[in-house]
Symmetry: C2
Amino acid sequence: MSRLPTIKDVAERAGCGIATVSRVLNGSGSASQSARERVLEAAEALGFEFSALGRSLQSSSTRTIGCVVPSLANPVFADAVQGAQEAALAAGYQLILACSNYDESQELHAVRTLLAKQVDALVLTVSNAASSESLDLVARRGVPCCLMFNTATGTFPSWAIDNRAAAAEVADAFAAAGHTQLGFLALQFHSSDRSRQRYEGFAQACRAQGMREPVLLEVRETEGNLVDLLGALLAEHDTLTGLFASNDYLALAAMKAARGLGRRVPEDLSIAGFDGIATGLIIEPNLATVVTDPHGMGRGAAQTVLAALAGEKPPCKPAPDLSFHFRPGGTLCPPRPDGRAGKNDDGEAATSPSSTQ
Amino acid sequence: MSRLPTIKDVAERAGCGIATVSRVLNGSGSASQSARERVLEAAEALGFEFSALGRSLQSSSTRTIGCVVPSLANPVFADAVQGAQEAALAAGYQLILACSNYDESQELHAVRTLLAKQVDALVLTVSNAASSESLDLVARRGVPCCLMFNTATGTFPSWAIDNRAAAAEVADAFAAAGHTQLGFLALQFHSSDRSRQRYEGFAQACRAQGMREPVLLEVRETEGNLVDLLGALLAEHDTLTGLFASNDYLALAAMKAARGLGRRVPEDLSIAGFDGIATGLIIEPNLATVVTDPHGMGRGAAQTVLAALAGEKPPCKPAPDLSFHFRPGGTLCPPRPDGRAGKNDDGEAATSPSSTQ
DNA sequence: TATTGTATTGGAAACGTTTCCAAAGACGGA
DNA sequence: TCCGTCTTTGGAAACGTTTCCAATACAATA
C-alpha cells in the first residue's frame, strides 16, 4: 500500500495548517466549529492515527517501560511480568519485554537496547544486583528503575523478599521434623543472587539448628533433560533425607527425578521448594514451600517507577521486607529412622525402628 | 541529570559536522583517520548512544515486533512468547508485549497502541480470528502479521494445529476406553475460538463413535476461586465418567476440584487436557493430553513475519497442519462399570461389579 | 602548471509530531 | 468609526537521526 497518512495529509484535506489539526485531534488549544468538523472528517476519511514516533521525539517521552527477566518459563517471572504489565497499562504505559536467559551478557544487551529505545523507565530482575554492569549503565543514564526479586541496592529500590530469612524458615521446618543432613538444590547458582542468598540463609540456619552443613547440589547447564540431570545428582547423594530446592520449578522436577529413582517423596526424601507457584498445590502431596507474591512484586515495581515518573514518591514501601510465609506441605515430613543418627525431638516419630537399608 | 548527549554534541566536541559523526559511528561512508579518531574519542567521553527514536523516524523502521497474547498465566502462551522473543532477538528485533486478558476490547486497544508505536510487524493470538476488529485494523494498515494458535484466515498466515482433528483424537481415546458420556470443560468459551473448535471436533467425534452428545461445562468469569467454581460444576454433573478440558491448565484445576469432592482420578473420573504443558508430566498419574509445541509456534510465527520483512517468503509452512499427538496418561482409563450403560469392549475391565454409589 | 579524479566534509532536507508566537479576523464598546 | 480585546489560525522551530549533494582539499597525471 501507499504510506500511512500523516498529520500533513489531514491538514491538506481539511484545508488548514497542521497546527490546527494537532489542536483539534488532541483537544488542546482552540479551533472554530467549522475547522473542527473539517479536520475530524478528514482524519476519519484518511484513517489517520498519530505516530507515536514523531510524538515521542518531540516530547521525549515514549510512555513505555522496559522489562527484563531471566525467563518466562518459570511461572514466577511470567506472573511478575503480568503484574507489571497491568500496572503499566493502567497508567497508559506499554511494556517492552526482554529475557536474559540467565545470561549476564544478554541481560546487558537487553538493557542497552531498551535504553536506546528511550524507555521512560525500567523494571528488572538482574543476575547479580550487587555488582551489575547493566545497573551501572542504567545509573549512568539516570533512568528510573526498580528491581524485582533482587534485594535493593544502594542505588535502586526493589520489590523482593528477604531470601535469607525465608530460607532460614525452611531450615527450621526441616529441623523441627527431625532432619539432620540436608541438601540445597540450585539450577543457575552462579547467575542468580537470589539462589545464593537462599543458600546462605539456609546454611546458616542449619548450623544454628545443630544440623550438618547442607550439601550444595548444583545443576550447571540446561543442556540435557533436567530431570535426568537431577536423577544423576540425587543418585550420587543418597544419604540425604531432605532437599531444599531454590525454586518450586526445580523442586517439582526433583520430585519427578526422585520417583524415577524409586525413592518415595516424602517417605524416602523430603522436599521443599521456594516461590509458591500454583502447581505446588495441584500435585499430591502438596509441595512444602515458601509462598511469595510474584504478581504483586511485578505490579509494585512498575508502580514504583510509574510514581517516580509522575514525580510522586512511591506509593508503597518497596523495601526488602515484603511478606512471605512458609507453607507446610506433604512433601516435608520426618525422616525414616534408620542406621544413621536421627535426633527426633518428638517421641512419636522415633518409635518404629524398622530399617530397610 | 542533564539531557542525554546527541549526535550534535559529539560533532561539536569532535569539531566536525554531524554527518561525519553519523558516518564514523555507523561505519558507513568515508572519513579521514583523524576525523575517525576524534569522533570515537568524543563519543566515548560523552557516553553517547544513538537514539532509536530519531533513527526510526528517519528510516521508518523500528526494528520492533508487537506481540499480543491472552495471558501469561497459561504457560502455553508464556512459552510461545519466549519462542517469538528468541526468533526476534536473533534477527535484531525487539518484542513489545501486551496481554488481552481474553478481552476483545483490550485486544483491540493493544493492537492499536502497537500500531501507533510503528511496530514493523505483529504476532498475535486473537479471541476470534474469523471475525476480529483487531485483524481488520491490521489488514487496513498493511502491517505484516502472523497468528499463533488461531487457525489461519484468508488474510493472515498462522502457526496453529488443527484443533478439531486433535480434539477428535481425544474423543477416540475416551471411546476406546469404553466411555459413553463425556463432558467438555471450557474457561473462556465465548472468547476463544480454539476452545470452540476443540469442542466442535470433540462433539462430532463423540457422535461418530456412537457416544452421547458431550455436555458443555463452561466457567464464565474468573472471579472467585477457579477450583471452587469447578468443584460446583463437577458436583452438578456427577454422572459423567470422563472430562475433556480445553487446556491442561484447566485439566489440572479440574483434577484438584474432583479430588476435593472425594472423586478419584481416574477411577471415578477420567480427565484429558490439551497443550501438553510440562506440569502434566510431573503430576502422578501423568495427564492424558494433546501434546503441542507452543515454543515452536511462537518462534515460527515470528520467523514468518521476519521473513516477510526481509522480503523473503516464509521459511516453513505456516499451515494449520502443524504437528501434534495425543499422549495417553494415567488420568484416562476405562470407566467403572456401574448401574449405567457401560459398553466396555475389552472384557478385562468389566469384571469387577463393585459399585460404591 | 593546468587538469582531472578521488577522498573527505558539512549543510540541508526529510521523517511526524508539538508548541511558541505573531498575524489576522471578529466583535463589543465608546 | 475606531480601538482594544479575544479567538482563531498557520508558519516555523525543535526533537535526533540518515543521506543526498555540492564543495573543498589534495594527489596524480598530462
